[in-house]
């Protein structure tokens, strides 16, 4: 799965879990300031992706993740590691 395909999953998870418009889900978008998502929202968002992509993201990996782009890097890395 390439980065664009992973990004598509991120977008749909953000729409579903965070209740935001798809157009707001850009790589620069900040969870807290742009998507009104707090740390628990981020946990739930990542849980949805773990479920969809059959990956595991330890909670400590989420430290320092502030933007969609950073989350994309993290998730894409887990998907690549699985393959």
């Amino acid at each position: 799965m390439d980065r664009d395909a992973v990004f598509a999953h991120l977008k749909s998870a953000a729409v579903e879990v965070l209740g935001v418009e798809e157009s707001a889900v850009t790589e620069d978008a900040r969870f807290k300031d742009d998507l009104d998502a707090d740390s628990l929202d981020l946990v739930e968002f990542v849980m949805a992706l773990e479920e969809k992509l059959d990956i595991t993201v330890p909670e400590e990996d989420l430290e320092g993740v502030e933007t969609i782009g950073q989350a994309l890097d993290l998730i894409a890395g887990k998907v690549a590691a699985k393959a």
Partner: protein, 421 residues
């Protein structure tokens, strides 16, 4: 000065703060707005149908009364709605509707309170998450499980969304909870702790485990082949209750302020009684002794003549035990000749902790319309039931007050006396 059952119950009490009802909201199997709710309970046709919220195939009882066509995002944004169990979604919808009907309250938020009754709170969330934990482990458990499952979630949600900082309470007295919530809310106003209270009951205990448990207990009607005939309060052929879900809220308001702001006053909370059988965790006390004392306490609290009671909205669950004990109790309270007695559970099923609140709405609509809805599916009189059960068609009633009962596992009894004010 308090009156007693034998002397002095002659007039409405005037020695204390009066409690007005200025708003009502309902989400129920019989409708999600007051007009459709009223026409459906008047039509007395059961809303029981095969389960859609759970898979009926795996369950011993394959039907119940669900709330249909409810969209939580009419009341909460998508993200807020996701963070609430269905029970709080339904409750919040009913609370918003009630507040809307009450109009511009103009009250100090610190003087505004919330009291919510529920039997179990967010059971659907709890059961789903327990299953997830068992199948996939701790990492898949939602960080929102606790705030979604806790019984007080609806009370917290309503207070937060309305920005009300006064008392916010949750009452958990099983099937009496909705009535207790309204009664205790009235007391908050009477004692001066609040000027306005959103009070109600909420329940959605429709999960495979809960349905199995109620069925195993023998509490549910087993008429899988004819669901619409299953809930038949006071009928000789009754064989258990039909599980339902729903929510209702009332806006209670200190009478003088409601009048002063020009509110439309829909009714008055005149009296409240509550006690406990202290007898058995599930069965009512012999001869309905606890219920007699509870109804008598509510009527004493209201200070009304027995002759002023124009109908009783019974707990009337359609279980053999409840309906026999309750009708005996009503008969004792009224000295043999009962006022017209109804139960809307033939239509709505039993909404557990929401029942008393939904029924308080039914009572107020009955008082306003001068009509008592008939009991659905009442066909064959039970020789053990000596009460004037309204059946066939609605009964016209003259001006007066009504008594509404709720009784819960644990032996909790609660009764309200409501009038038009």
């Amino acid at each position: 000065m308090s009156t007693t059952a034998t002397a002095g119950r002659t007039s409405l009490r005037t020695d204390r703060t009066r409690v007005a009802i200025t708003g009502m909201g309902v989400k129920s199997p019989a409708g999600n707005d007051l007009a459709s709710f009223w026409s459906n309970i008047l039509a007395a046709e059961s809303k029981a149908a095969p389960w859609t919220l759970v898979d009926p195939d795996a369950l011993p009882v394959k039907f119940g009364c669900e709330v249909k066509d409810f969209d939580p995002t009419e009341y909460l944004n998508v993200k807020e709605a996701r963070r609430q169990d269905r029970v709080a979604q339904l409750g919040f919808g009913a609370a918003v509707d009630a507040a809307k009907q009450a109009g511009e309250l103009g009250a100090d938020p610190a003087r505004c309170a919330v009291v919510v009754g529920t039997g179990v709170g967010g059971l659907i969330t709890l059961e789903t998450q327990i299953k997830l934990f068992a199948e996939k482990g701790a990492d898949r458990v939602s960080p929102f499980l606790v705030p979604m499952m806790m019984t007080n979630a609806t009370a917290g949600l309503v207070s937060i969304q309305f920005g009300w900082t006064g008392p916010s309470l949750c009452i958990t007295t099983a099937c009496a909870a909705g009535t207790n919530a309204i009664g205790e809310a009235g007391r908050l106003i009477r004692e001066g702790s609040a000027d306005v209270v959103l009070a109600g009951g909420v329940e959605t205990a429709i999960t495979p485990t809960a349905i199995s448990a109620f069925a195993r207990m023998g509490a549910l009607s087993a008429r899988n082949d004819e669901p619409t005939l299953a809930s038949r309060p006071f009928d000789a052929g009754r064989d258990g209750f039909v599980m339902g879900e729903g929510a209702a809220f009332l806006v209670l308001e200190e009478w003088d302020r409601a009048e002063a702001r020009g509110a439309t006053i829909l009714g008055e909370l005149l009296g409240y009684g509550r006690n406990c059988d202290a007898h058995h965790i599930m069965a009512p006390s012999p001869g309905g002794a606890g219920a007699v004392a509870c109804m008598t306490a509510a009527l004493d609290d209201a200070g009304v003549d027995l002759g002023r009671v124009n109908h009783v909205n019974a707990h009337g669950t359609s279980t053999p035990l409840n309906d026999a004990a309750e009708s005996e109790a009503i008969s004792k309270v009224f000295g043999g000749r009962t006022p017209p007695v109804t139960s809307i559970k033939g239509v709505t099923g039993h909404l557990i902790g929401a029942a008393g609140a939904v029924e308080a709405v039914a009572v107020l609509l009955s008082l306003r319309e001068g009509k008592v809805p008939p009991v659905a599916n009442y066909e064959t009189p039970d020789p053990e039931i000596h009460a004037d059960i309204v059946h066939g068609e609605a009964r016209d009633i003259s001006e007066g007050v009504a008594l509404s009962n709720s009784f819960g596992f644990g032996g909790h009894n609660a009764s309200l006396v409501l009038g038009l004010g």
